[in-house]
Symmetry: C2
């Protein structure tokens, strides 16, 4: 046997990615063998190496694309307004929507970092940091404007990220809760957490507005 009838590189590569995301999210990177992955795709293990030079290269590709997609999603969802509460709400809503839609990829990006080589780990962490910076900027500027009430911006940012990312640990789309309902609840918890001034728009919003660095 050799090349099979109807074989197509693009389709095979897509099938590999899809199967890898599912298997790795379910069993963990180290627990999934190349033979197991190949079997799921319907191909021999050797065929995988036409698309990814090593197993780690496959993992890295999945992670990089996930992180880049997250940054892109936020770039597109980012609101024009400078109003802190609206910006924070947009960030949280986008984060939750993205993570629910891509549960498996997120799980991988959170759990399998230690299987990356040092250079690749650094690369992924840089992407993650630049995403977290977005939240910190919102919280910092909102605090400066008096819309939020925070002592420690970095600490609050970590708390918010942990809280809203935690959704994927327990939330299942088919349950009593809708995505919208969960998002609403998390939005209100977030606003309380950061001490957002409620309902009435803050009068002094524009007083101290500055451009971000």
């Amino acid at each position: 046997m050799a090349r099979t009838a109807g074989s197509d590189g693009e389709r095979t590569e897509a099938a590999i990615r899809e199967a890898a995301v599912d298997l790795i999210a379910r069993h963990g990177y180290e627990a999934v063998s190349m033979r197991q992955l190949a079997a799921r795709v319907g191909v021999q293990a050797a065929a995988l190496y036409r698309y990814f030079t090593t197993k780690e290269d496959l993992l890295f590709t999945l992670m990089r694309e996930h992180m880049e997609a997250l940054l892109t999603a936020w770039d597109e969802a980012r609101p024009a307004t400078t109003e802190p509460v609206a910006r924070l709400a947009a960030f949280v809503a986008n984060h939750i929507a993205f993570h629910i839609e891509r549960r498996s990829q997120t799980h991988i990006s959170n759990m399998e970092l230690r299987s990356l080589s040092p250079e690749r780990l650094t690369f992924i962490l840089r992407l993650r940091t630049s995403y977290e910076k977005e939240l910190r900027a919102i919280l910092r500027e909102g605090t400066e404007e008096g819309a939020f009430d925070l002592d420690d911006i970095g600490l609050a940012a970590m708390a918010v990220i942990q809280m809203i990312t935690g959704v994927i640990v327990w939330f299942r789309p088919d349950e009593r809760l809708s995505v919208e309902g969960v998002t609403q609840t998390y939005l209100s918890m977030t606003m309380r957490l950061v001490g957002a001034t409620t309902n009435r728009e803050t009068q002094h919003v524009h007083a101290g507005t500055r451009l971000r660095a």
Copy 2:
């Protein structure tokens, strides 16, 4: 060679546990080999099997004892009062103190669940659930009494747990922040999150949550 001079079963077992916690937390369960672990202990791999029947048995033992220790710690820290804010504050403070003190074990219990057999996984998850029930009870009763303002108890409980467990992801004891400072900040974020009635009770909080020495 055979039994070595000064060898002692109890000391060896303790050394195995200690080395295993450190190595597994650092590299992951699957990435740590029995030979690597044995080398760290200063012993041959075969010697490990005198203390743990399999590699998974070792992992399970570490996890079970960690979860039981967590429940015991809360049992001892549980305040006599029924005052909701004080109870919640005690829970959060104990949780953070415990998790900072046992970073590596917590990391293992959170990350390596999928390496357990189904029965053992169920066992560990049962312990975890019974711990989370404690928090839910506090939030439910506090809400009924009007001390908290929550729509969805279960959802709020998950959010709080995720937030306060997240401390171990980034907190390092030797940094600008002290354990006490971090605990205080998380306490106030938690109280806001659950919509606790403020100020008067807040002072009560501070009085009731002195950290155990």
